[in-house]
Symmetry: D2
Subunit: 166 residues, 4 copies
Amino acid sequence: MAAIYRRPGRRFHLLTRPTPRNPVTDKPYAPTLRVRYDETDQMGVVYHGNYLKYFEVGRTELMRHLGFPYSEMERRGALLVVVEANCRYRDSARYDDVLRIETAGTCPSPLRIRFHYRVVREADDVIVADGWTDLACLDRDRRLRRLPPEVREGLERFELSVEELV
Amino acid sequence: MAAIYRRPGRRFHLLTRPTPRNPVTDKPYAPTLRVRYDETDQMGVVYHGNYLKYFEVGRTELMRHLGFPYSEMERRGALLVVVEANCRYRDSARYDDVLRIETAGTCPSPLRIRFHYRVVREADDVIVADGWTDLACLDRDRRLRRLPPEVREGLERFELSVEELV
Amino acid sequence: MAAIYRRPGRRFHLLTRPTPRNPVTDKPYAPTLRVRYDETDQMGVVYHGNYLKYFEVGRTELMRHLGFPYSEMERRGALLVVVEANCRYRDSARYDDVLRIETAGTCPSPLRIRFHYRVVREADDVIVADGWTDLACLDRDRRLRRLPPEVREGLERFELSVEELV
Amino acid sequence: MAAIYRRPGRRFHLLTRPTPRNPVTDKPYAPTLRVRYDETDQMGVVYHGNYLKYFEVGRTELMRHLGFPYSEMERRGALLVVVEANCRYRDSARYDDVLRIETAGTCPSPLRIRFHYRVVREADDVIVADGWTDLACLDRDRRLRRLPPEVREGLERFELSVEELV
């Protein structure tokens, strides 16, 4: 069962704002990706479960642009694990479409990050899906630990874009 | 980032109820599956995005047991598409674990089904993840249509188990 | 690009032999699986890359039936890694098809296993794909090591069925 | 079981040649991609089956650079289906690694394309995997047809780079 829903007669949520940019480097932090053939299903559109992988691409690149790549965090013993995920499907994406993954994060507590995502089709700036994931931070022994403070501070600098995304 | 969260010091949600059974055939409708190697990630547990695939196995088998296999529905021009999905991760599943996918469905409107899921590790009856998906029904031209009435009626017979699942 | 090839005008390789059986327990060791929706692509058939996952299901169950589950081997420090894989696509499999994964193994050297596979559609016993994978055995430090002797001996008991499969 | 093999004591196949370039546009046609978290498995490296997806990224981008995007070919009724695939694993790739997919194609007959691939880790120019796939061309009714002549001619212009790749 695919993610292909569209209200008949009109398009959803045309975006007019530009891609969010990193306020420090002024580079856009929203990565783009091209839909691969294996990511489609027999309805001819992207299989709905694959959007959680796209969300992960979004937060990976956001964290890299903030200066703490997740691969580095994991090596240092701060593992982020997903505790809840939510995705709303608004339109369908197809093979070879270029998608832009807009991401912003908040830290509602010292133990948790919430990332918000919008998956936008580059060709017409239509939102294909949006959603959020809550992540907790674990140490090497898989026990809950506080988020590294520089991660929290980095994400707080993006709070405005979070407001825009929600 | 994996789905591996567990509160330190105690286990989550021990199940004591038996597997739900089909009230007509008295066969259990909860399929089991074995975690495949490719479904793990470098944290050593099932990648969180794969639970949406397990949910789909659950609703596929529920619908088959109710007498309307989804492959048949699709051939007849009633396509189910996911409009929203939610998953909470409560424990981690590992390679070669046998998981039981418990599923129940409700029809909040003639246009929509909500399925609820519990992914349970067979070895110790611990809930690994639970969640829900909302699906809409489309015709061959991808327009919204009403659910086939027999599907609605079949699901309504399971309402009690829905109450148990939520 | 899907795996859907069929010579026009005739079917491939009708199987007439029964499913291979474990000579010790007389249980069939060929697992079956049902094609999941996410495993299809926009051609309406199973994406060709997914057959390598099906092959892995085949060798996992063969090794379990021989008495040394791979999950146990890995815990004891004998890791099997794929060094080469080959797959020929003969017909297409579709969503909800039941597939039987027939597997046999040989040990051409003390350092290497070759598994042979046939993916057969249960409904009509037609071979959908076949192929092989070569695996090497590593220790915990990722250095080449000899295969555990009981694994070699167990596989040798299946040599006849290897002859049948190739 | 992962694709992680490396001969102890030395590295494999250091590449010294530059990335192949499109002789017409002089742009490199070798796309790069970053390994996603879901593409790893519990051995901590890319799952071996995922290289067939990377190969597909390679031939998709090669065909786009030659001027006939595969999405366009499929819309016009020339479907490419994989009839055989082969992959040798030479080293392991890890989460967040950037990989370059070098691709070249030949047409051994008017009915078939063979693509050759090398997956190279950008950081140190080491070949992680290489292989090939044979593809046949089908029409909308899934019957064998000849390749569009412009595709054959386009690929022939790359024959030299094929020689380099094999």
